[in-house]
């Protein structure tokens, strides 16, 4: 049905994909697997026409294709269900399903009743018992995902691409989806699924392809392998050799203690609710938080930096209970957070490098509200030197710097606040290897100076190389605790995947699986 050969995609300074092959037969369900950053998303973007490939050929339905826009791919018969929702929240289910392909009567007016009928037919099939006139805004995240799927189904596509389709679905909805996939298969439709839940691969996929670091690793029949084999192929060894494991050092006194931290409702941005999280971080220690996207790691960080309403549980700093309602409280308590999304949550892109660093430290370099420029320059210069930030002029807008240098300045901002606890969320996302190593070195130095450092990362090699101790998260729960010496990728991966919750018979009170 579709055959990709030698696909390459190069961004300035980064090879996103190189020599990737993928072939999917008619009526085949194919799993596309790989770690975060392996190149799956880029490959999907090429398949769906969102980005052109730089090298290689795409053969679809017996013809060589060049997709320039998503419309090209759709017309050829490829429907894509994206991980991020592309729905219009204030339009009805039916209008969303047929957006851009409205059913007309008499050539001009939209035939609402026909559209609703057709929408009803497909949503019934999916098991959404809902009036197709309902606004999408009123649906749950899982239901919205099903609407996305319904949209793809009505396109009469020959190939449907699903990017993490089950991430937001309940067990029942997942089963519904799997039976739909079986129907599609029977009708001769091909499906490509990207998923982190390996159990699903064995439940509904025929073949698999594994990518790692933008390279094609292997491809084969699902029946011929087991979960452990897939994990070791995904993880590989190439990354690990880049990062030397840090010699563990004896941690000092416990700085941060969290006990039974629970969110009654989810943070606005994510659908993850923390459930009875208890953990500690000691002075001089680097604690890694591992988990799939949406496992609750970031939500924990954000809760520590301004708890949403309805959060229960205790947070103690140096043994003293602290109440953190907002970021100001957190900073006063000695917590610093370098957020996940550097551009959206961290940087002031149009402001100068200097101002980006000093913004959280104005109290120390000003008197009576007036900034002492000398003190400011001295503060910023000292960090630019210490962190080896490459810039021509500290008054240039920070957006002109590379990702790595931006990240260093963001770290500088928070290091300058002299925190007791430094939380870094995805500290090396989108930075080149050289800067990555430097950022790690900074984290080591922070720990050495007695700060409790918490590192959140989707890259397991990173977590393994920097952490003294690692906690694994899954679906808002803490599922395991590992000391550096005992942890390895396969093990972490197992404790990050939802099957661990069922294996341990997890209910509200999950007993911690401690590896030592």
């Amino acid at each position: 049905m579709i055959k990709l050969k030698g696909i390459g995609k190069f961004f300035p300074g980064v090879v996103a994909l190189d020599g990737v092959n993928l072939s999917v037969g008619k009526g085949e369900v194919h799993a596309l697997l790989g770690e975060n950053g392996a190149g799956k998303s880029t490959l999907l973007k090429i398949l769906s026409g969102a980005q052109p490939a730089d090298t290689g050929t795409i053969e679809f339905d017996g013809q060589v294709q060049h997709f320039h826009t998503p419309q090209d791919a759709q017309e050829a018969g490829i429907a894509t269900i994206y991980q991020e929702f592309t729905l219009f929240p204030d339009m009805s289910i039916a209008d969303n399903i047929f957006a851009g392909r409205e059913v007309h009567s008499g050539g001009f007016f939209i035939d609402h009743s026909a559209m609703r009928k057709a929408a009803k037919a497909v949503t019934d099939k999916l098991g959404i018992e809902m009036n197709p006139a309902t606004k999408v805004r009123d649906l749950s995240v899982g239901e919205q995902q099903l609407v996305e799927i319904a949209r793809a189904l009505t396109m009469d596509a020959k190939l449907i691409i699903m990017d993490e389709p089950t991430a937001a679905l309940s067990r029942r909805e997942i089963e519904q989806l799997q039976s739909i996939i079986a129907d599609l298969k029977a009708e001769g439709v091909s499906v490509i699924i990207v998923t982190h839940r390996l159990n699903e691969v064995f439940e509904c996929c025929d073949r698999y392809t594994i990518l790692r670091d933008g390279q094609f690793i292997t491809s084969g029949r699902v029946d011929d392998v087991d979960e452990d084999q897939i994990i070791s192929m995904m993880v590989g060894r190439s990354m690990e050799s880049l990062f030397e494991r840090r010699a563990s050092q004896a941690p000092g006194d416990v700085v941060l203690e969290i006990e039974n931290l629970t969110n009654q409702s989810s943070l606005a941005a994510a659908a993850v609710v923390l459930k009875k999280i208890s953990m500690t971080a000691a002075a001089g220690e680097i604690v890694g938080l591992a988990g799939l996207v949406g496992a609750g790691r970031t939500d924990l960080a954000r809760t520590l930096f301004g708890a949403p309403l309805g959060t229960t549980g205790d947070i103690r700093i140096n043994g003293e209970p602290v109440s953190i309602q907002n970021s100001l409280d957190a900073i006063k308590a000695g917590i610093a957070l370098v957020p996940e999304d550097r551009k959206a949550q961290g940087l002031f892109l149009d402001l100068s490098c200097k101002h980006n660093v000093s913004v959280s430290n104005l109290g120390r370099i000003s008197s009576n509200g007036f900034i002492n420029e000398k003190a400011e320059n001295a503060l910023v210069d000292s960090y630019i030197d210490a962190l080896n930030v490459r810039l021509a002029n500290k008054d240039q807008p920070i957006k002109t710097l590379s990702g790595g240098n931006q990240q260093k300045l963001l770290l500088a901002r928070w290091m300058a606040t002299n925190p007791k606890v430094l939380i870094v969320d995805e500290p090396t996302r989108g930075v080149d290897i050289g800067a990555k190593v430097e950022v790690h070195r900074l984290l080591f130095e922070m720990a050495k100076s007695g700060v409790a450092v918490i590192v959140i990362s989707s890259e397991l090699p990173e977590i393994l190389s920097v952490s003294d101790r690692i906690y694994t998260f899954c679906e808002g729960r803490l599922t395991g605790e590992f000391h550096q010496t005992e942890a390895n990728e396969e093990q972490l991966m197992r404790y990050m995947s939802p099957s661990i919750l069922s294996q341990t018979g997890a209910s509200e009170d999950l007993t911690l699986a401690v590896a030592n």
């Binding site: 402001l351 021509a392 590379s402």
Partner: protein, 342 residues
């Protein structure tokens, strides 16, 4: 190391490419203003007379005060459409107090409460309105556009109510001197404008509050996560523009020796135009007081020059509108050019 030096090289190239455009964009408003002044000066020799220059300066000073406040508001990515109406309301309230509670008519000044209380009233009304609008915007997160659109209508209505639909006129000499007086030949309104604009520029550059204003406008979520009290910062800018509307309203009534119910009509256009022509981004985070002063002068020169050339006043609106679009369009063009890679 090689990737790092390569990144450095890339950056240097990018800098070279953007420099020319950025530099041009920076000075374009000033160049345009100078061209305008020279052009009008050639077209009419009375234009460059000291008398006319001071006249322009006085005119500009009044809405210039509002533009200074508006710069702060727009830097936070907000907007205040109510400035013209609030200016009228503050002026009318001051006049009402000065004339002894709406006695009205000429010669009522003796019965009034004096310029001091009148000034305090104007500033107080501005402060109060700024507090309410700021609270609605910062705390209840009602869009600034909506809050101040409502304010625009409410204040105008209140102004008409206080003045009973008409003007309140006739103030004492000290009151009038706020609009008509001069110190060493420099009009009092201009002195206020220069002092306040300077203070505002220093505030933006050298105070924590100024930094917070840029940060909130640049990226509100990041500002919050950086430990900035976003609500307090937003309250601050709306209170500031309210108080400045009070001062400007007082000065305008002093200059006219009368509080008109229609004072400050469509000032929001002039004021926002001044800020935008001066290079402040409507998306917040970028802009300077110096730019706003140039913007305000540009509009003042334009209006005055067109009058001197006997061009029908309707053309003012058309030309000012045109310039706003061109100024913002030019800005977007430059940003796209300089590869707004974030």
């Amino acid at each position: 190391m090689s990737s790092a030096s390569q990144a450095n090289a890339n950056y240097k190239n990018a800098e070279k490419k953007t420099d020319y455009w950025a530099l041009f964009a920076k000075f374009a408003p000033l160049i345009f203003l100078i061209i305008l002044v020279i052009g009008f000066g050639i077209a009419n020799d009375r234009f460059l007379s000291t008398r006319n220059m001071l006249n322009i300066l006085t005119e500009v000073s009044i809405y210039g005060l509002l533009a200074v406040g508006m710069t702060f508001v727009i830097l936070t990515a907000g907007i205040d459409l109510s400035v013209g109406s609030l200016l009228a309301l503050c002026g009318m309230s001051a006049a009402w107090v000065a004339t002894g509670g709406g006695g009205g008519g000429f010669g009522a000044a003796e019965a009034g409460y004096g310029w001091g209380l009148a000034l305090a009233t104007a500033l107080g009304v501005g402060l109060f309105a700024g507090c309410i609008q700021g609270y609605a915007i910062a705390h209840f997160k009602i869009p600034a556009f909506v809050v101040t659109l409502g304010g625009m209508s409410i204040y105008r209505g209140l102004t008409l109510l206080i003045g009973d639909g008409g003007p309140i006129s006739g103030f004492d000499g000290v009151y009038r001197s706020f609009g008509r007086g001069d110190i060493l030949g420099i009009p009092v309104p201009a002195i206020f404008f220069v002092l306040i604009a300077s203070a505002a520029a220093l505030t933006l550059k050298f105070t924590n509050f100024g930094r917070h204003v840029y940060a909130v406008g640049g990226n509100e979520e990041a500002a919050n996560l950086a430990g900035i009290n976003v609500e307090k910062t937003l309250m601050g800018v709306y209170i500031m523009i309210g108080v400045l509307a009070g001062l400007a309203g007082f000065i305008l009534t002093a200059r006219l020796n009368s509080a008109e119910a229609t004072a400050g009509m469509s000032y929001e256009l002039r004021v926002i135009a001044s800020v935008v022509i001066g290079g402040t981004s409507l998306f917040g985070g970028i802009g300077t007081i110096a730019g706003t002063i140039i913007g305000a002068l540009t509009i003042g020169v334009l209006i005055n020059g067109l009058v001197m050339l006997n061009i029908q006043s309707y053309w003012q609106l058309i030309i000012v509108g045109f310039i706003i679009v061109v100024a913002v369009g030019f800005d977007s063009f430059v940003k796209a050019r300089s590869g707004g890679k974030g």
